[in-house]
């Protein structure tokens, strides 16, 4: 019984870590990127200050907005936090990850995206509708690739439960799986597209021609905007944690001992920092591409994930 309670407390702590750590990861990414571009970056705590400032600011609702506009930030934030609860960050075998599997995780993302697009269209401005239509275009191409990567993982591990799957990968030791190489590459491309980073979307711009995510949240202010930004940061961290823990699961805590948990936290911190640094490098090297090139980019991601699945079937199972 006590063990049961510990695991639930740990699950809550882990989710809280996601929520609390996401701005830090965003700050780290920004700092590394600034350093690479020979600029002095903001402090690591700057995203927290930004969120705090937004929470204190006055809330302005645009004329003619309905309840959808007001409810969307809470729905999106809630869906993303629930998604965060499913993903193992520092420990495996937590009760929350046993309740929902990785397909539900994709579902949470879809729910958040649906409300984001609705909120964008609700006000009736040109930007909101444009951003929503672009977001849905990107999403409709990214989601099949994401699911294909997920299926590759599920087929290799024999389960869609993330926690169990990671445990099986961990216990099988160092095995070079061609399917995982492809799934990793595909998932990296999908993550870039889904979290609105360069080269698909530029999160730091308010230039009307190029923006996707910013166009939809343009009308938001105050605590609504804070929730939206925070949810985007958590979503980024979920993708980073997924990639880090599925493909490099070493270090994650299997037991609930203090030492194992500390090691798990340290390992995941290092992995996330490295992954964010890698993204900063790629964002510095690449330029944003035209919106109409995005379908080809995502088509390539889908192809990679599909090849991952095929090479699993052909090379790893057969014979």
């Amino acid at each position: 019984m006590a063990d049961h309670l510990t695991s639930w407390v740990l699950a809550l702590v882990q989710t809280a870590l996601f929520v609390a750590g996401a701005p830090l990861l965003a700050g780290w990414l920004k700092r590394v990127k600034c350093r690479l571009q020979n600029r002095r970056g903001p402090r690591l705590t700057q995203p927290y200050r930004d969120l705090l400032r937004l929470f204190r600011k006055e809330l302005l609702l645009p004329e003619g907005s309905s309840w959808v506009f007001r409810a969307a930030p809470y729905v999106i934030f809630g869906a993303i936090v629930l998604a965060a609860a499913v993903v193992p960050l520092i420990a495996l075998r937590l009760p929350t990850s046993a309740i929902a599997d990785v397909i539900v995780l994709v579902g949470f993302f879809a729910l958040a995206r649906f409300f984001l697009a609705l909120a964008g269209m609700d006000v009736g401005t040109a930007f909101g509708g444009m951003g929503a239509s672009r977001e849905m275009t990107v999403a409709s191409l990214a989601e099949p690739a994401l699911l294909m990567a997920v299926f590759t993982l599920a087929m290799s591990a024999g389960t869609t439960d993330l926690s169990v799957a990671i445990q099986r990968i961990l216990s099988s030791g160092l095995v070079i799986r061609p399917s995982f190489v492809f799934a990793l590459l595909g998932l990296l491309l999908v993550a870039v597209a889904e979290t609105g980073r360069i080269p698909v979307d530029n999160p730091a711009t308010h230039l009307e021609l190029t923006m996707i995510h910013e166009a939809m949240v343009l009308e938001y202010s105050g605590r609504h905007l804070a929730l939206m930004e925070w949810a985007a940061q958590i979503k980024f961290m979920i993708y980073a944690a997924l990639i880090a823990n599925i493909f490099l699961p070493w270090g994650i805590a299997v037991g609930f001992g203090f030492g194992a948990l500390a090691l798990g936290a340290a390992a995941v911190a290092v992995k996330l920092a490295l992954l964010a640094a890698l993204l900063a490098v790629s964002e510095t090297l690449l330029a944003k591409m035209r919106l109409f090139a995005a379908p080809q980019f995502l088509g390539f991601a889908y192809l990679l994930c599909l090849l991952g699945m095929l090479s699993h079937v052909i090379l790893e199972v057969g014979g």
Binding site: S156, A157, G158, R168, S172, G173, L174, V175, I176, R177, P178, S179, V181, F182, P295, Q296, G299, F300, L303, L306, L307, L310, S311, V313, I314, L315, E316, V317, G318, G319
Partner: protein, 226 residues
């Protein structure tokens, strides 16, 4: 997961390289610039050479080392260099194939992989070699080379597709029977080399007569037709 764990690291690496060879075929389908296409083709040759070397190491067939070295110099360096020089000489550095049907062609390629898996399945069940699973991959490389030839209009791309078919056949020989006899291998290698040089001459002839390398234009009988 289960079948893979029984293999040692070298054999796992061979499977990974086989997957990368397959990926390079898809990269060729995705590449629209001719110079890029030749570069990817060179990478496929290098990957093929490394795979052959590893198969030689894992299976203990020393004559495969010779084919690995031959493949590296011929398909990784010499033929791509000839093709690259030809592209430069014909002034096609910035030439692109049209982007139409890019994604459907790639998806058709994925379909071909599934098809070759289905076709190779009975062969795989009869074979006892540890490389047997890659037979389907080599067949897929052959079919993808054909797809490249069919879907492109420029003569240079079609030659690269043809060379890629040869890569697939060589790969099939290595993984299905640990290579052909040395005489055959040498003969085929030099045939390919001669073909690469001959194609160069043909390119020049085609261009001299119809002033383009777009082979669709060969169907037209006279200049007056639009």
């Amino acid at each position: 997961m289960n079948a893979l764990q029984g293999l040692d690291l070298t054999r796992q690496l061979i499977l990974l390289l086989a997957a990368l060879v397959l990926f390079s075929s898809f990269a060729m389908l995705a590449q629209s610039r001719l110079v890029g296409l030749v570069r990817v083709f060179a990478w496929q040759g290098v990957l093929l050479a490394v795979t052959t070397g590893l198969v030689a190491y894992a299976s203990g067939h020393t004559h495969l080392y010779a084919s690995a070295v031959l493949t590296f110099f011929l398909k990784g360096l010499l033929i791509p260099w000839i093709l690259h020089r030809m592209v430069l000489r014909l002034g096609l550095e910035s030439a692109r194939e049209s982007d139409a049907y890019r994604t459907p062609v790639q998806l058709a390629g994925a379909g071909l992989v599934v098809f070759s898996y289905y076709v190779a399945l009975p062969v795989v069940q009869l074979s006892a070699l540890f490389t047997r699973n890659t037979i389907a991959v080599s067949l897929a490389v052959v079919l993808l080379g054909m797809l490249l030839m069919i879907s492109r209009h420029k003569a240079v791309s079609q030659v690269v597709g043809f060379m890629s078919i040869e890569n697939g056949l060589f790969f099939a020989a290595v993984v299905a029977t640990y290579g052909m006899p040395m005489v055959v291998e040498l003969g085929v290698a030099f045939d390919v080399l001669v073909a690469a040089i001959l194609f160069g001459v043909v390119f020049l002839q085609i261009r001299a007569s119809i002033d383009t390398l777009d082979v669709d234009r060969l169907n037209r009988l006279s200049e007056s037709e639009p």
